[in-house]
């Protein structure tokens, strides 16, 4: 039986489609505009002749060229890759180990350890004490011979209580019969973790790894504060520095190139989001899952 669409439903449907499409276009617009502005000629950008699509007549890729010719750009890119790769691995290994131990009912002081974790979500010390602490721990690291600030960022920024709780909940969802069967078959604790628990909570692990990787890739503030050597700054810090430089009137006096200074910034923005845009379609299916497991319970 096909029901006739009521007038109120029709109105709501039209409103829904219209507003959703508008909002989605608004979400997408700045990115499209950034690409267009990055590859349009100087005059078109300076006199705001671009609305959405690039100015095809004055198409240029020199703004990208200027970035690619900059050693600092490649430096910062490799620094970001370094922080993302090692940071995600470090965060995942320590979080999985901790979450696995916490998921075991037989763990002594389990309640205390859980509280130890959750309390950091209630109360954070704030940025100035954290900053002082990073300086102090940086000195300890130096005492051990680790003078590279990047390793401090990798190791110190590694934990988020929320992610550990997500993993812990996933591990708790694994039926204990399977673990017991594995133990009867002679599996050690490590084997139980790697052969039983990890394969059985793959989607949560993927989600959490994704969260860690994205927060590492996007990290700005602490990377800037903790890494003193400007050669070791990640891409986000580099991007912000260029933004300040290319909007500074003093720097721009006598600008005489085929591309506008704005194009350089847009080109840099495009470069920094391309990796995320590439992996985005593959990771997109995990989002809903990640949010659904977000119900936190003690």
């Amino acid at each position: 039986m096909k029901r006739k669409l009521e007038i109120s439903e029709l109105i709501f449907k039209i409103i829904s489609y219209t507003l959703l499409t508008m909002f989605a276009l608004c979400c997408l617009y700045p990115f499209i505009y950034a690409i267009s502005a990055a590859i349009s000629g100087e005059h078109a950008v300076e006199y705001s002749e671009i609305i959405l699509l690039p100015d095809w007549k004055t198409l240029q890729f020199d703004a990208f060229g200027e970035m690619f010719g900059n050693n600092m750009f490649w430096n910062s890119y490799s620094n970001t890759l370094f922080l993302t790769l090692y940071g995600t691995i470090w965060s995942m290994v320590t979080s999985i180990l901790g979450a696995y131990a916490l998921s075991k009912k037989r763990l002594l002081f389990r309640k205390f350890f859980n509280f130890f974790l959750v309390f950091t979500m209630w109360f954070s010390a704030g940025i100035v004490p954290q900053y002082l602490n990073y300086i102090a721990t940086g000195k300890i690291f130096e005492g051990f011979g680790i003078t590279d600030d990047k390793w401090l960022v990798v190791i110190a920024m590694g934990m988020q209580a929320m992610n550990i709780i997500l993993l812990r909940n996933a591990f708790e969802g694994v039926p204990s019969e399977i673990e017991e069967a594995a133990i009867v078959d002679g599996a050690t604790e490590t084997q139980v973790l790697t052969k039983v628990y990890l394969p059985m909570s793959k989607s949560t692990i993927a989600t959490v790894a994704l969260f860690f990787a994205i927060s590492r890739w996007n990290g700005y503030f602490w990377a800037k504060q903790m890494i003193s050597n400007s050669n070791e700054h990640p891409l986000q810090v580099f991007l912000r520095l260029r933004l300040d430089q290319y909007t500074d009137p003093e720097f721009l006096t006598g600008w005489n190139k085929v591309y506008a200074p704005d194009s350089v910034i847009y080109a840099l923005i495009v470069c920094s989001i391309i990796p995320i845009l590439i992996i985005y379609p593959f990771i997109q299916k995990y989002f809903a899952k990640g949010v659904n497991v977000g119900g936190v319970k003690e």
Binding site: E6, S8, I11, F12, K13, S16, T21, F23, A24, C27, L28, Y33, E46, Y47, V93, T94, L97, G98, Y100, A101, R106, L107, L108, F116, L117, F123, A125, G126, I127, V128, P129, Q130, L132, N133, I135, A136, T137, A156, M157, M159, I164, E189, T190, I214, N218, Y220, F221, Q236, L239, R240, L243, T247, D262, I273, Y280, F287, A288, V291, N292, V296
Partner: protein, 355 residues
């Protein structure tokens, strides 16, 4: 005495004597040497406890030691030092912030930061909270899977951009016009000036240089960034509603609005309540990164929040670490009370504890 004997001893009928219950002896032994048994259990499970160590150490070093550094709020210091090297100053930092004392400007600035923190969060709650719910209702209307996925992919995207990219785009899109000619004003500024939402002069001077527009820019960019992604949880609640509920309502003659009111809303109410309480709990945790990247000296009046206030005094401009810590201490304590309060309410009202 007799009852005790019965506990420990078993009567042996054959010989007519009592003998000790062997199982009770083991139980006794366990009770007597409780900690020894616990130790044995720990030793047997040593791998499990070893797994905990890295996590505990990281949290101790970089989450709990800063809390100890926060005690610097009771001390006076002019340069960056650790807590131990400073001098005890009692509550003088708090007094200075709250009541001014010999520096009334400081206390005015602090109260301004408190007010801005509260207002930015409050407006975020007011405008940022309902938007994802409305989006989720709209998504539910899109019957075609392909169209809906496409729309969802587009609206989630900004969430995965870094704060730097997002703020850079905002800065570029509303930036000031050049003094040389017509051009160079941000494209969004132009559009807004074109339809008369902002005056030409304000757009020319740069919307981010005008304290009147900071809150609006902050909220709009926040919704742009997060509303799509935040709608996921509400959408999941809406699609969980059984189709028979709608059919029953339709047979009863309910139009779309009545269905919204009597079917959809009650079904997702618990999700809304939980999310609302979470938001209220984090009312004072403003993303300082975004504010630091967006504000400038012209907009301190509306943009300066407690985190950025203490960032300026404690880190970027000078080493008033004690003062900065005192400001954060107050902000974070109120924040924690809000989280605990919200959690208690949610446990009582929705029977769901968030933590």
């Amino acid at each position: 005495m007799k009852a005790k004997a019965a506990d420990y001893l078993l009567y042996d009928q054959a010989s007519g004597t009592y003998r000790v219950d062997p199982e009770q002896a083991v139980r006794d032994d366990v009770e007597k040497h409780h900690w020894l048994h616990v130790g044995r259990m720990v030793l047997k499970d040593w791998r499990l406890y070893l797994m905990l160590v890295p996590m505990i150490l990281i949290f101790l070093f970089w989450r709990y030691f800063p809390m100890y550094e926060l005690l610097g709020c009771f001390k006076v210091t002019d340069t960056v030092k650790t807590v131990n090297e400073q001098y005890f100053a009692g509550f003088s930092n708090f007094k200075l912030l709250l009541f001014g004392g010999n520096n009334p400007n400081m206390s005015q600035e602090f109260w301004r930061a408190m007010r801005n923190t509260f207002l930015l969060s409050f407006y975020g709650l007011l405008f940022g909270f309902p938007t994802p719910i409305i989006l989720a209702l709209f998504f539910n209307e899109v019957r075609s899977n392909i169209a809906r996925s496409a729309l969802q992919v587009m609206t989630y995207l900004p969430k995965f951009m870094s704060t730097v990219v997002m703020t850079s785009l905002v800065i570029m899109l509303v930036k000031q016009g050049s003094s040389i000619g017509v051009g160079n004003m941000g494209i969004v500024s132009q559009a807004l000036a074109g339809i008369g939402l902002v005056s030409k002069d304000a757009a020319q001077a740069g919307l981010l240089n005008d304290p009147h527009f900071f809150r609006t820019i902050y909220q709009v960019s926040g919704i742009w960034e997060g509303a799509g992604y935040d709608s996921i949880v509400f959408f999941a609640a809406i699609i969980a509603i059984s189709p028979t509920s709608y059919e029953a309502a339709q047979i009863d003659g309910a139009n779309k609005w009545a269905q919204m009111r009597y079917v959809v809303l009650p079904s997702i109410l618990s999700t809304i309540v939980i999310m609302l309480i979470t938001r209220i709990g984090h009312l004072l945790t403003i993303g300082y990164e975004k504010v630091i990247l967006l504000y400038n000296t012209n907009t301190y009046m509306t943009a300066d929040v407690v985190s950025t206030f203490s960032y300026r005094y404690g880190m970027s401009q000078g080493g008033k670490v004690g003062l900065a810590s005192a400001a954060e201490m107050m902000n974070n304590l109120i924040g924690m009370l809000l989280v605990i309060g919200a959690n208690t309410i949610s446990r009582k009202a929705a029977n769901t504890s968030l933590y």
